[in-house]
């Protein structure tokens, strides 16, 4: 079992590397982090915060868009593409279990996205630290960003793989992935903001809204990062969510749930694929 899992995971990781996914994602993440760090450095003095902490805060808002996109782009084709190319039939004709296939692909792609996040942010963090200095608080904020970023990447790899298993065809899987990104990352927040504006100080804003924000994995990631950082200039949904009535660790638990459910659902869906 372990041998088969490692065989599939090793091939999947090799493909991600050969297709230049890891390199491109690393470069994109490093470039955005460097741009935010150096262009936003001027605000540091005004806000009495070090540049590394400040960049971590603004980067957590940007990562909410980038990391899910990278993870979904890497994973949406992983099962549907193999159905179309005929290789899934070959793999499933061997003693490999379907859950092993899903688990191995998930592991490899989560590691691939994770390597890109860790490397990209490490490069940017080192450059910013070397230029503007490093504080303990800055390092902690950066560490939280990278750590929760790894989890966010893994969540969307699991979501992308599940969509791939559900779609069966690559074109459909691509549509599902883009739709999922739009809904979870863009439209969800807009709808919530609309709700808050419409409800004013009503029950929705005080009792329902905070939990709805928490329920979205992208928002949970952002809440976790911003909750540990007082001086960050935040607006929109982050500002509204600043005074939320729950522990700062709860968003992490939500991310954990968002990891477990798509993995379980994805394994069920993979079991139903007819290659």
């Amino acid at each position: 079992m372990i041998a088969r899992l490692l065989t599939i995971a090793a091939q999947e990781f090799r493909l991600a590397r050969r297709n230049l996914w890891v390199v491109l994602a690393t470069l994109a993440l490093a470039a955005f982090a460097l741009a935010l760090g150096f262009l936003g450095a001027g605000q540091g003095a005004a806000l009495k915060a070090d540049v590394l902490s400040l960049t971590a805060a603004s980067l957590s808002t940007l990562s909410v868009y980038l990391i899910p996109l990278i993870a979904l782009l890497m994973s949406y084709d992983a099962l549907s593409g193999e159905v179309e190319r005929g290789t899934l039939a070959l793999t499933l004709a061997t003693p490999a279990r379907r859950w092993e296939l899903f688990a191995a692909k998930f592991l490899a792609q989560a590691v691939a996205v994770g390597v890109a996040i860790a490397l990209g942010f490490a490069i940017a963090g080192a450059a910013i630290g070397a230029t503007y200095g490093v504080s303990a608080a800055g390092l902690v904020a950066w560490g939280r960003l990278v750590g929760s970023g790894l989890v966010l990447g893994a969540v969307f790899v699991a979501v992308g793989l599940s969509l791939s298993a559900a779609a069966g065809r690559t074109a459909t899987a691509a549509a599902y992935a883009i739709g999922c990104w739009l809904i979870l990352v863009v439209l969800y927040d807009l709808a919530l903001l609309g709700g808050v504006i419409a409800a004013g100080d009503g029950v929705f804003t005080t009792d329902i809204f905070p939990w709805l924000v928490l329920a979205n994995p992208a928002d949970a990631f952002r809440l976790y990062n911003l909750a540990g950082f007082e001086a960050a200039p935040v607006s929109g949904i982050d500002g509204l969510a600043r005074s939320l009535p729950f522990s700062a660790q709860l968003p992490l638990a939500v991310l954990g749930l968002w990891l477990a459910v798509p993995v379980a659902v994805g394994m069920r869906l993979t079991a139903r694929i007819v290659p």
Partner: protein, 304 residues
């Protein structure tokens, strides 16, 4: 055929929703036997393969691979498969593809070089599959199907798109596997290709098995008539047709249909009419005619 076939299919029904894709199919393949499964596109060949692999669940009937239910560990270890169309990841090398499937089958890596060598890919082993020709990709597929000395080889139209020489080599490798005791079931579009290369032919038409036996048996059972094409002497065509019947073509030619056992007598009769007959041409039914005969038989049966 032995009492313990490697592949045993009995009265198999398989449905896609309301469509009955396979109906009452029974087929056995013994150790070391090569069976060709013939049929048009959509006849149910790939569906049967998917059922044998455990990807599709039968609606009725029984299926066993080396005595085990399809999809079980023991059945999966016994069977190796080459699908009709397979595109290995372009950025992997031939050796990497082989390592992957060896890993999944729990076979050592020691055999990889030998298998690649056997299918003529030794030199290309470390090149990316993206640069392979169609024939090379198909040969890599065959090498992959030979990993771990399988007991049953399922080859779904393995030679489509191969040139005649590659085809010959392909069947050579298949014969070696059969020689080691591996049962082989391979699907194909035409009889010409598998003549002399398989032990038995099974013909599938509209989801039903309409023929199963050695090619010679099928031919004698079908008893297809021979066609005798007669060219008349100038101006004698009308008279000749009056004497022997047949269908007229372009003024001087007649086509006669004749049961196999009657050809000699008819030809002798024609030879005795030199004043009327200028030439005689005998056409024995070919493999394509035989295949059409069995396929059409099924079509007639299902018509109301």
């Amino acid at each position: 055929m032995t009492d313990h076939p490697i592949l045993a299919v009995e009265a198999l029904d398989l449905r896609y929703g309301r469509l009955l894709a396979l109906s009452g199919v029974s087929l056995r393949v013994a150790e070391g036997e090569r069976v060709a499964l013939l049929g048009h596109n959509g006849a149910g060949k790939s569906t049967l393969f998917k059922a044998i692999l455990g990807f599709l669940r039968p609606a009725a009937g029984r299926l066993a691979v080396a005595g085990h239910a399809p999809g079980t560990d023991a059945a999966r270890r016994a069977v190796n498969y080459l699908p009709e169309t397979v595109a290995f990841p372009r950025s992997l090398t031939g050796t990497e593809v082989m390592r992957y499937f060896s890993g999944l089958r729990g076979a050592g890596r020691g055999d990889i070089a030998r298998l690649l060598e056997r299918v003529g890919l030794a030199e290309a082993a470390h090149r990316p599959v993206g640069g392979y020709s169609k024939g090379m990709r198909q040969r890599l597929g065959l090498a992959q199907a030979l990993i771990g000395a399988p007991r049953l080889l399922l080859l779904d139209e393995p030679t489509s798109g191969l040139d005649p020489i590659s085809r010959g080599e392909f069947y050579g490798v298949v014969a070696e596997a059969a020689g080691r005791g591996c049962a082989v079931l391979l699907s194909s579009h035409g009889l010409e290709e598998i003549e002399h290369r398989t032990d038995r032919v099974a013909i599938l038409s509209k989801g039903r098995l309409v023929a199963d036996g050695p090619l010679d048996d099928l031919a004698s059972r079908a008893a297809l008539p021979a066609t005798i094409r007669v060219t008349a002497q100038d101006g004698q065509a009308d008279l000749l047709q009056e004497r022997i019947g047949g269908t007229r073509f372009n003024g001087c030619r007649l086509d006669l249909s004749c049961p196999p056992e009657g050809t000699l007598k008819l030809v002798a009769e024609l030879a005795g009419l030199p004043q009327l007959v200028r030439d005689v041409d005998l056409h024995r039914p070919g493999l394509a005619d035989l295949y059409r005969h069995y396929s059409d038989l099924a079509a007639e049966e299902v018509q109301p």
